[in-house]
Symmetry: C2
Subunit: 275 residues, 2 copies
DNA sequence: CAGTGTGAATTCTTTCACAGCG
DNA sequence: CGCTGTGAAAGAATTCACACTG
């Protein structure tokens, strides 16, 4: 409780599983593209390919929405577009405020995909007085002081945080206090919010780190057969690394501060240990 | 088949579950913060809170890495930082190229979090000849023509695509052909890549749409108790849903445009269902 | 028949709860 | 005694495979 939950269980969504909700936008995009090409119907197979998933999953996903297809034929594109849009709540207007108009905030403000689907940038807010009044993406930036008023006046319920990490929680608190109940966070911090407020996070460095993990694994596979072992009590897999720290005197240095270590281009697993 | 798989199963990671891998960066960040404050040890409870997860999950996650904690005490911060960094492959240098230096690309190039952890922006690439030579974030932008050479010369294996959707697949193909095996895609498109290439996608509008879905649900709950019906015959009710569209003549395009009104607590859901 | 819709089987994740170590 | 590490239980999500319908 102290910290408040960052993710609400959400799974309680009456009927649609979270995983499915997360894919609906994907389907919608694929469908929109088909619609623009005036394609009248699609099979689960085709649509699935276009959306980058497999057809069984897609059909299962759609089954949660209802039976919108025609057996032996497929789905009516226009109709599905409408149904999914409605399910996602895109048939209504969602005013959004973006807080933190730095490089990223500006990029977001200019991002076409934003406005394209029901979302409308209602205001751009920045703490720097020098920014106030300056137009970004055709909208005059307003000062943070106005935050509460802006949200209230525009009935905004979705906020985007693109501030430096240090300011994120504070901005978040103000947004929430002002009535915002959904936040898209680009700042690399864990935000604490009260129950009932949804937070989704987009974190560039996390994505890169996940890629690095797999990349490293690939590099290792190239030459190393069965490397990692699952050992429970015996040897911790990659074991042969700095043993227990005792206090912190092994080889911690790695990333904490400097972190200047580097390896050859084709990433060779740091000679952790000769088997 | 032509399209190739977009996501590789990946789950084959010898021992660490994907879900865990995705959280390691989170733990790492929390740990780094502690490290900077010279905190020597943390309990799973404390660290979990800082990372925004629950302690059981964290302990389970760590158990996949090995036994790095001390019962009755907790984890040695420095040591864990090192272990996780190593596991993620951050103890080595990962040169990265960013393709598409528009608003977003520039924001990425300037993003501190990038360089902070093992990642190094090796080059910025853009198709616009006018951009060539212009410095962004202290790095001179290079023309797309150089793409293959740049990747080869720098031994780059991770590429970031920040181009318009239309150019993404093409850029992707060139990156892959040039030897890139991990891609972080910011363009709103599904990329087709050959087996063995990892793609992670970051999509702003998708995130917003997911938020909208929950937001809408909240608004509905406020006044409407059991809205969405779950049953027809007692099972995954599908029964009573809007009937076939015939062609596409229902009510596509509800009130999507204009209308700056906020959610009408309960009156919104367009009366799709005559039932 | 082609292709949806969906129970059932499978696999992955999260959570529980507690034995046991420092 | 406090806290980790982990089997085992519970809960999602994915995949299978096929009955059934337009």
């Amino acid at each position: 409780m102290a910290t408040g939950r960052t993710h609400r269980p959400a799974t309680r969504s009456r009927g649609i599983p979270e995983a499915t909700v997360a894919r609906l936008p994907l389907y919608l995009r694929a469908l929109t593209a088909l619609s623009e090409r005036s394609v009248p119907t699609v099979s689960s197979e085709e649509l699935a390919t276009a959306a980058g998933v497999n057809s069984a999953k897609l059909r299962k996903d759609f089954s949660y929405l209802g039976s919108y297809g025609t057996r032996g034929v497929g789905y009516d594109v226009e109709y599905l577009v409408y149904q999914i849009s409605r399910e996602l709540g895109l048939t209504q207007d969602w005013p959004v405020v973006i807080v933190g108009i730095g490089n990223l905030g500006a990029a977001l403000a200019n991002y076409g995909g934003f406005a394209s689907r029901g979302f409308r940038v209602a205001a751009l807010i920045d703490a720097d007085p020098a920014m106030a009044g300056k137009p970004v993406a055709g909208i005059a930036v307003q000062h943070t002081d106005e935050l509460e008023k802006i949200i209230d006046d525009n009935g905004v319920s979705i906020g985007v945080i693109a501030t430096p990490a240090g300011a994120a929680q504070q901005v978040c608190d103000r947004l929430v206090a002002a009535g915002i109940t959904s936040i898209l966070n680009f700042a690399p911090t864990v935000l604490s919010v009260p129950e009932g407020v949804d937070v989704r996070k987009v974190d560039l460095s996390i994505e890169l780190q996940i890629l690095a993990f797999h990349e490293q694994r690939k590099a290792g596979e190239e030459a190393t057969p069965p490397e990692r072992e699952t050992a429970g009590t015996g040897e911790p897999g990659v074991a042969t690394t700095p043993k227990r720290p005792s206090v912190a005197a092994d080889r911690p240095a790695a990333g904490a501060s400097g972190d200047g270590s580097r390896q050859g281009p084709d990433g060779d697993v740091p000679a952790v240990m000769p088997a």
